[in-house]
Symmetry: C2
Subunit: 421 residues, 2 copies
């Protein structure tokens, strides 16, 4: 494809999605659920074909320089396909967001006002992740009445395409327009740039992947973007914390799954706990294989810790590494989090109500946890259903982005001939 | 100021606002209301001084090439100052949005989840309008816990600065940081460009003025923008409409105040009403001084009408001009609105419930009116309090942007030591 061909291909794709989005906005929740349940069914039926397509991706994985861990994440198995299917069934079971009356009432002049949830329109979803994200993202978008342009990573190209072809069949079966899902083959990077200029047809861009992808999309997009930047999450242990609870939450927030965005990256400890409590916590973390990078006070009780740097405080390690700092007050902890944090998930362990309230109010983050692990920051755990990402923005959607976060609203005002005086 | 000085001035201004926004987010609703009520009080006390400052703007108005109508809008009078003061009192009377629990509940694992409204942070408000907008915008921002950087038009520079100086006194009196309101003198256009790059400190940009200003802000801003583009509003008269009601709404939507965004710009008439009804409606509109631009069918019954063009359908006249088109069906009306409309306010007059439902669902607009004038599209009329604009975006805020639309939310999750399995 030369530049002109690419440009008209992208324009045509976006237009088709836009037209389909108008149809989708009029579809019933029953039709959209029929799509999801049909897709879950044929994913299970065609497990073998999907595993075959996936084999081609696994073959080419070394060419893309994937590590064995990355290759393993790419792999489709019976279990993983079953869990994709169950994911779509869970999306179907979630209440229909489209048409929900968010609020309403009657004005003094008799006008009846309803604020009604409507789809955003067209979502441009750019992702680098595993093939199951293809099914998830398409499911969430269609459930919320949005058309979606999927632009997945080249590493999973065959698997994703095989999944999308099943989804087309399910759109047909449910009587929904095929154009509701647009699949953009992961050719050159230029296609992304083209789509990001088409704000006339695309209502929101959602990048999911490394920070460089997200920054690129945020910079080039002419439409709004829902961003999921780093998850540099903090845990503050207050003077009044229950010592056992504090230790259990620390170990869980760091070790239960260190490679995910809501794992803890920096532990802030009140100085009154910088003796035995910190020493024992350090021992337990090290038993789990965690490397500790500590400030001076930390290294006094955990001698194996390496000196922590400013760069460590800024890092989302996504690994068996934890920065540890001893602070003299709640103020110092809050100041640290608001300086270095990424506004994702931040927790306090305390028995003191006033400290809990102060922390919850003043820490600028999508989700504050009081006496609970940051690992609970998740659409499913919050009861919001499947999510397309966790927004670290404050605008439009913050925290887990599920089907409701992919909607807008309109006002419907019904009168009996009222005119304005 | 040279380039370097301008750059550091803008950076310093944004930083101060950012710091103040943190303090403001912790302030009580009582403190923020005390600011509003104090400001209302001293606006009234200092009416004379304000009128003096305004006189200097009126003197320079001819230099800026303002028409006499524009100069009149610039003028401050006792009445207009009184209504500014009342505006601030109304904002004070509105419930505090900060800290409102939007929703919440207890998860099966015992975690208590609250979704709590919080301020966005720092608003950059660029406007070209009358001096009263200065007081309104500052009032709405402070009420919602946001710091604001005000960048008004040069035409109202003296009046706006005089108002801002009163607002500083009121911030002091209420114990709120003076830096919560930043006043940027309307020097060169470059300052706007500088601020639009400071997304590290500014959370949202809101332009209010002509389309070129809005386009410029939307293109250059690195932070989210709440846009109020054109109000190209439509009124569709269905076959089943009550003829008298349809005529009264038509005249009201066009003539009650033609220079505002929610006035009607195009009338779509079902062909069954293209005879006597349209002829008589045309006569009444012409008596009000409305120039009609009509399609062929319209000109058959309103011979004085000039032929309507595509450009007319695309226009927000903001004047005594109305485009009129006869359509054969609801579908054609909806198609016309979704093609030419600006997603602001669109109305149907009908007695047929199914037609009303279809119109409300399929017209892609911020506010649909059924048997009521488009002129009701307004924060006050909707019961949302004072507004900083009407958003024609679908993202974050749609329709009237009052104090609640200037907020985000955070999740506060309280446990008893829960960890993730």
């Amino acid at each position: 494809m030369n530049d002109n061909e690419l440009q008209s291909y992208c324009l045509e794709t976006a237009r088709r999605a836009h037209t389909a989005s108008r149809e989708l906005a009029r579809s019933s929740g029953a039709e959209r659920n029929a799509f999801l349940l049909h897709a879950a069914g044929i994913l299970r039926e065609r497990t073998e074909a999907l595993i075959e397509a996936n084999a081609r991706d696994l073959e080419t994985a070394p060419q893309f320089g994937l590590t064995s861990a990355q290759t393993d994440r790419l792999r489709l198995t019976d279990d993983r396909i079953e869990s994709m299917a169950r994911g779509l069934e869970e999306i179907a079971a979630f209440p229909d967001p489209v048409g929900e009356i968010i609020e309403g009432g009657i004005r003094p002049n008799g006008l009846e006002i309803r604020k009604v949830r409507v789809p955003l329109g067209v979502v441009f979803f750019v992702y680098e992740s595993r093939p199951n994200v293809t099914a998830d993202a398409a499911g969430i978008c269609v459930k919320s009445g949005n058309a979606v342009i999927l632009r997945g990573g080249k590493e999973a190209a065959h698997s994703s395409q095989a999944i999308v072809e099943l989804l087309f069949e399910s759109l047909d079966a449910a009587g929904l327009p095929r154009d509701a899902i647009q699949w953009v083959k992961p050719r050159d990077r230029e296609a992304v740039g083209q789509f990001l200029r088409l704000d006339e047809y695309i209502d929101v861009a959602i990048p999911r992947g490394g920070e460089s992808l997200i920054r690129r999309v945020a910079e080039e997009a002419t439409m709004p973007v829902i961003k999921h930047f780093a998850g540099n999450c903090h845990l503050y242990i207050d003077q009044s914390a229950d010592p056992e609870m504090a230790r259990a939450i620390t170990v869980n927030a760091k070790c239960q799954r260190p490679g995910v965005c809501n794992a803890c990256e920096t532990l802030l400890v009140h100085q009154s706990l910088s003796g035995d409590w910190l020493a024992e916590t350090g021992r337990q973390l090290e038993q789990h294989g965690v490397e500790i990078r500590g400030d001076e006070a930390t290294r006094r009780v955990i001698p194996e810790a390496t000196p922590v740097t400013r760069a460590d405080y800024e890092s989302e390690f996504l690994d068996w590494v934890l920065a540890v700092k001893v602070v003299s007050s709640l103020d110092e902890a809050i100041e640290h989090i608001n300086t270095y944090g990424s506004k994702h998930s931040d927790a306090i362990v305390t028995r003191d109500l006033a400290q809990a309230q102060e922390f919850a109010r003043r820490v600028d983050t999508a989700a504050v946890f009081i006496n609970a692990s940051t690992r609970f920051h998740d659409g499913g755990e919050f009861g919001l259903g499947a999510e397309i990402g966790i927004s670290t923005d404050k605008f439009h959607a913050r925290g887990p982005c599920g089907v409701r976060e992919l909607t807008s609203y309109k006002y419907i005002v019904t009168g009996r001939g009222q005119i304005r005086q």
